[in-house]
Symmetry: C2
Subunit: 335 residues, 2 copies
DNA sequence: CTGAAAGCGCTAACAT
DNA sequence: ATGTTAGCGCTTTCAG
């Protein structure tokens, strides 16, 4: 591998000049610059990023640590991040913490050790990861999930409102006993979506029946099992609000497997859309999130934070939108 | 940020000893080692990976460059890679080339510049990326798609066989005019799947009707449009083999939108499964791929290549499995 | 405008 | 078993 000195030698200039030409940092005699460029070309020289990074003590990499690559919500979001990153000349490296705080911690360590220019993180529970990044003065933006007690740039959606709207929609549809399958307690999206559900019940003057609440793991399997457990309860619900897309899929699968008719015997609304939701029969009613926008916004915040590390942390809350489809509307003829 | 010298000073040893303790490369007096560990702890010392990387001229990162993060096939595959990587103490960074050779080239450049320990790549067309990596002697494994004329570790599935089986299945179901929607010409999966389709027709003694073949882009939208174009053809098909999952979704959506009854008016088989395929109505018949295994195998090959750079490149071909579901079986009553 | 030289933080000979 | 020392390849003062 050719080094900057090989280039310098060939162009008959100093390494410093080569560096200046390559980085455009200072003005160089056009003739010399031309010689340098020619030498670079001839040698197929590619700067060694490791050396450059060490010297500058930063990289041009953004780490995006998401909690589940298998969830289209997160991959859609990554698209938004990528588009902004690319226009700012950063490369995005994606890390999958798989909802596992230990893996998250590992990737935070990697981000720190590699001195990534910034990190976008959807925390899998503990605040520890964010705090470590903040302590190291690494620009960081939290996405999807809040980290209580930590002052950090954040991009969220209005979870309570979305959930309340979903629940109210089920109530308006005449469903009587509405259950909720939410995520792990302590994860802000899980907690807030549960709260929105409760708010809607309260506002409608309904009692909360805590036997109709399940905490699961935001995964398909977990949603299936939670649904099964609801069906086996003493007095099963006639509708369910499910706090994420994957669990909603699981719940639907469970209902199909048990032969429970949707939406007539059981209404269901999920939080966050599914790809090809239109092909699922009956089509799933969802609380839609602006996934791509979430990613874009987070990336913009990160870019701003990098440009001005001293600025006040901002929290952006984007709106959700209820998409009424087939799983929440009883047929006119049904009881 | 504390450096190795701060630790050395605090533990009253040399930097070399600290390094040895941290890397376990040579034996050190347990007492000293203990002092070092204590100092590390007290200072919250974290080795600077950039310096280490520069010194060792390699990182402990694996780059996985996939052609579409939005495709569950690729994200499932990443899972397999991650599990192996983790057990080998590598971190996985994911890069999304988005089927764009230019982005792929960028990420290859990043991988090279960052001197990643190895790269797993699903090439988006040109052989250029692989070749660059190979030239730089970066361990690389190609996944999903072959790169003709290049000797490189590869993990593939038996595309011809899977496609032929799918097509034969449609023929056996009594479909007469079977179309094919495949990917971009020049991408090995697209070409081979088309070839498998043709083989099956030939073996069944059917003529090839080239007006029933469409090349699209492996995306949902593309599948939709290709299907629309087939429907608008002079003599539309009564079945279609679609060469990937996303395009199959698009094709199905088109059929739903146009009110074409599946499977009675039109049979359809896709290549590669969909998540929650069971919820899609009618359930999509697919050629299933062992996605997780593909990832695992690629990762293992990469680990072996890193361990022994001189070994002969291997090509592993995994088997597909036809999953017959609802979209390829006409009801008994239908004509 | 250009070159010489120092040094980012770490590891691996080499010496003791 | 431990310490001393010399760089890895680059950028960036500082002189000229």
């Amino acid at each position: 591998m050719a080094t900057i000195y090989d280039v310098a030698q060939r162009a008959e200039v100093s390494a410093a000049t080569v560096s200046r030409v390559l980085n455009g940092h200072a003005s160089v005699d056009p003739q010399l610059a031309e010689r340098v460029r020619a030498a670079v070309e001839e040698l197929g020289y590619r700067p060694n990023a490791l050396a450059r990074n060490l010297r500058r003590s930063r990289t041009s990499l953004w780490g995006v640590i998401i909690s589940d690559v298998g969830n289209p919500f997160f991959t859609a979001l990554v698209r938004g991040v990528e588009d902004v990153a690319q226009s700012s000349r950063y490369s995005v490296v994606l890390c999958n913490s798989d909802e596992d705080p230990a893996k998250e911690a590992d990737y935070v360590t990697v981000a720190l050790a590699e001195q990534m220019a910034g990190v976008i993180l959807s925390p899998s529970g503990a605040a520890e990861g964010v705090r470590k990044l903040l302590d190291a003065e690494t620009p960081v933006v939290v996405i999807d999930r809040e980290v209580p007690g930590v002052s950090v740039d954040s991009v969220l959606v209005d979870n309570e409102h979305g959930s309340a709207e979903a629940t109210a929609h089920l109530l308006a549809g005449g469903y009587q006993a509405i259950a909720c399958i939410t995520g792990p307690a302590g994860i802000s999206t899980a907690d807030r979506r549960l709260r929105g559900y409760r708010q809607a019940l309260t506002e409608a003057g309904r009692a909360h029946d805590e036997t109709l609440v399940r905490h699961s793991d935001f995964r398909e399997r977990g949603g299936y099992e939670a649904m099964a457990s609801l069906l086996e309860a003493g007095s099963p619900p006639d509708a369910v609000f499910v706090a994420n897309n994957l669990m909603a899929v699981g719940a639907l699968e469970c209902l199909v497997a048990r032969g429970v008719a949707v939406p007539n015997q059981m209404g269901i609304v999920g939080f966050d859309d599914l790809p090809w939701a239109d092909l699922v029969r009956p089509a799933l009613t969802t609380v839609g999130q602006p996934t791509y926008e979430l990613g874009r916004t987070a990336a913009q915040l990160l870019a701003e934070r990098i440009a001005d590390p001293g600025k006040e942390p901002a929290t952006v809350v984007l709106k959700t939108e209820l998409h009424v489809r087939g799983t929440s509307r009883r047929d006119a003829l049904a009881s």
